[in-house]
Amino acid sequence: MPQTRSFDPYTENGGTILAIAGQDFSVIAGDTRQSEGYSIQTRYAPKVFRLTDRAVLAVNGFAADGNMFVKKVKQRLEWYRHAHAKDMPLRAIARLIQTMLYAKRFFPYYVYNILGGIEEDGTGAVYSFDPVGSYEREACRAAGAAQSLVQPFLDNQIYFKNQVPAPGTTHPAYLSLPDVLSIVIDSFTSATERHIEVGDGLEIYIVFAKTRDLQDFETIRAKNVHLIQELTVAEDGERIFVLRRDLKKD
């Protein structure tokens, strides 16, 4: 009986990503550890990428597929800019990603995508995808190695699942930016504690609608000047920031 061992073109590179939509902002985050098996390959490999001034894509799963996929999405967005002299709207990017993922239905990109940003109507949005392109718009989503740890926490904190409002009150329809940032940071510190593939660094992208008053953000920014970097390109459009923090390295 001849032994056969065929080449496996996939691997898993760990890490976790997460996005939460606010009323007029969106937050997209991911840790920066890349691993294979029990080995940490590097402590800094970004999984979250700025696509346009109002769209950010987080990619998690097989890193080689992820990098290639982001490269191809960026290329398609550049072609769109050349053809139409404007950035592609968020919901169009979401449909584009579905099409691109499904095009490889029978040799899939082994990646979970979460797209966050601002819609044309100025609302914060999050789209999540499976590897072959099924997608939906949501208020929040976690994916990757620690999805099973983080998603129930978000269900509870964002959707108020299993919480009963105090008599005579209702749950708030939208969460504030400081609340959302706290939930994101707590999600990742907790995932770092309990999951070996999560840690090292955290990158949080924050996208604001044009119309939004940034006062609450400016107070946060003033306290963390050295951690926050602005990535906005266009004037008087959506604004986009990235916040970098350390996570435990063990």
Binding site: P2, Q3, T4, R5, S6, F7, P9, Y10, T11, N13, Q34, E36, S39, Q41, T42, R43, Y44, A45, F62, A63, A64, N67, M68, F107
Partner: protein, 264 residues
């Protein structure tokens, strides 16, 4: 006709290499009836073990031993696994050595093609790494991989560069990288010695760190050799050393008690 010599007149499988140390045994038998189409590398044959590399004050340093193994047989003991690519980059390879030689010839052609342009641009380590990433990912996507883990190190325009790419197209960069067994045995030692000290480590210190790691690997990795080379890339270009020998010491073996025929 089966052109693979090892398939000619093989002994019965159960009478031959019962422990499966011989890599050919794992190779699928080419049954003539159902064999057609292209041949793909489904496993490496002649292989090189770990490559180690670190960043240091003046650039990057890379090390690899001179062994190319045929399964458990130490088949070729004078093989160079570090390769200069242009004047700013060095490439180190573990995994299948024939695939590595193919990659070398691709890169040599690429460098000449760029040279003949005479446009005052040269490819740096970042460009070479991107080229190799696309190559490796492209081949894995055809399910016909180049069976290697590669390290690309370099120095250009005042910047150090050190990155990894493997047969799946997986890439990353870090201030210390090791492939193969080195990623388990040497990487922790390298991280402890290098992380946070990238800008102060001298050439002498960097070399000592790599040599210590190679020594530990030689004691534990059965597919390694005590003959090795070290490459460095700095402002002044690439240099690859002559082969050197590790200084091993086996005197500790005297003190081991309690195994085999040893009774007291």
């Amino acid at each position: 006709m089966d052109h693979f010599p090892t398939n000619w007149g093989r002994p019965r499988n159960d009478a031959f290499d019962a422990y499966g140390t011989y890599p050919i045994q794992q190779r699928p038998n080419n049954i003539k009836d159902n064999f057609n189409g292209v041949q793909r590398t489904q496993q490496p044959i002649v292989t090189g073990t770990s490559v180690l590399a670190i960043k240091y004050k003046d650039g990057i340093m890379m090390a690899a031993d001179n062994l190319a193994s045929y399964g458990s047989l130490a088949r070729f003991k004078d093989v160079q696994r570090l390769h200069a690519v242009g004047n700013h980059t060095v490439l180190g390879a573990s995994g299948d050595m024939s695939d590595f030689q193919y990659i070398q010839s691709l890169l040599d052609d690429l460098i000449i093609e760029e040279f003949t342009e005479q446009d005052e641009h040269t490819l740096g380590p970042a460009e070479i790494h991107e080229y190799l990433s696309q190559l490796m990912y492209g081949r894995r996507s055809k399910l016909n991989p180049l069976w290697n883990s590669l390290l690309v190190g370099g120095y250009k325009d005042g910047k150090r560069f050190l990155a990894y790419v493997d047969l799946l197209g997986t890439t990353y960069s870090a201030s210390t990288i090791a492939t193969g067994y080195g990623s388990y045995i040497a990487q922790p030692l390298l991280r402890k010695a290098v992380e946070g000290r990238e800008d102060t480590l001298t050439e002498r210190e960097a070399q000592a760190i790599l040599e210590e790691s190679l020594l530990v690997l030689f004691y534990r990795d059965a597919r390694s050799l005590d003959k090795y080379q070290i490459a460095k890339v700095t402002e002044s270009g690439v240099s690859i050393s002559e082969s050197m020998a590790l200084r091993t010491s086996w005197s500790f073996a005297e003190g081991i008690r309690g195994y085999g025929a040893q009774t007291q």
